[in-house]
Symmetry: C2
Subunit: 202 residues, 2 copies
Amino acid sequence: MATEVMSEDATGGPAKPMRADARRNYERLVEAARQVFTDQGGEASMETIAKQAGVGVGTLYRHFPKRIDVVEAVYRGDVETLVRAADRGPGELPPWEALEAFLRGYVAYARGKKVLINELHEAFDKNPGLKLESRDRIWAACGRVLARAQAAGMARSDIDGDDLMQLVSPMCVHATLTEEQGDRLLAMVLDGLRPPGPEKLS
Amino acid sequence: MATEVMSEDATGGPAKPMRADARRNYERLVEAARQVFTDQGGEASMETIAKQAGVGVGTLYRHFPKRIDVVEAVYRGDVETLVRAADRGPGELPPWEALEAFLRGYVAYARGKKVLINELHEAFDKNPGLKLESRDRIWAACGRVLARAQAAGMARSDIDGDDLMQLVSPMCVHATLTEEQGDRLLAMVLDGLRPPGPEKLS
DNA sequence: TTACTATACGGAGGGTGCCTCCGTTTTTCA
DNA sequence: TGAAAAACGGAGGCACCCTCCGTATAGTAA
């Protein structure tokens, strides 16, 4: 992978690479924050996150000057994981399994997003590009995974990635979705995605 | 009006009426909170609210044990104002003007709701009935106002209150709605609500 | 009016959370 | 290996939520 963890200047361009300990702690902190937010919800304290990462709060604040920066880093990581998994498909998973894995990954992503909902709302307000960019990346990834399944004849070809996300995304956003219900509905969607059998050709 | 401000027991039944000073302060506090939330946003502090009301924080906390209780009281008041205004229509305003006033009131209500969005999310989580009940009351009020306008021949009769709310409510919820845009769109909706002229009967 | 009691008031202060500051430790590089 | 640069850690400042309790006042009965 080409994206090394670095400090960035205001223009977003790469700056000096981080010192080894700094980089190690950066990664620990993001992972600790993800864990703590999952366990305790979006109001978990900075002290808790630092402790979980095994560093002092000073270190946490050097890497993430404001609380919202931690939230943003966790969220960016989640999006990254989802999109990467989509493009890891070819060569590792057959096209249909890759599609199934992507959709399951999306549901998990959406669940994680829900516990940070208030925090993310603030982050999106401050930085509207983050929301749009993330959405675009995810929808595009969905399109690629679906297209591969379609090219292999494993998925019906009369819908595209945007259609699929338009169906699944609101389902995940709706407040009353339980984990089991999400699984059942996803199974149904996947069944509906299979190419129509010969007897069903109208 | 029959609803006097009282303390309530756990079952919601009426208890002893409040002492005069307590009641005065209760009302001042709700109004102060509404003002402060409008001015400073939903994260305004309890101290600020108490100061704005001219009372100590102790008094604020006696009336509203948790921060979220203040939010809920403000919200309930907003709903009450909107619904009351709807039913004040007959006798005070001609049916069409009452409908117009109701919709403008709804847009204002929705705007106020937006600054409390995070707080209300929490309140609705804790008390799901609040959300549903408020929605029902508002949609029903819309139905009554629209029905009166329809009965007077001032509004087209092929849509009902639920249709109307289904149109206007998402418009207000959407994050990017500006105040001017809301006014323009509402004007358009109102034009669309007028009964079709004779020349347009298809 | 007065005296008495239940009720309400006010704000100091406890606890926690975000964030800053700076002395100490570790890494890097000549 | 030694010095400079970079990063670490956590005490402490500040703001906020909420509690506690001494003081003040509305309501009531004589």
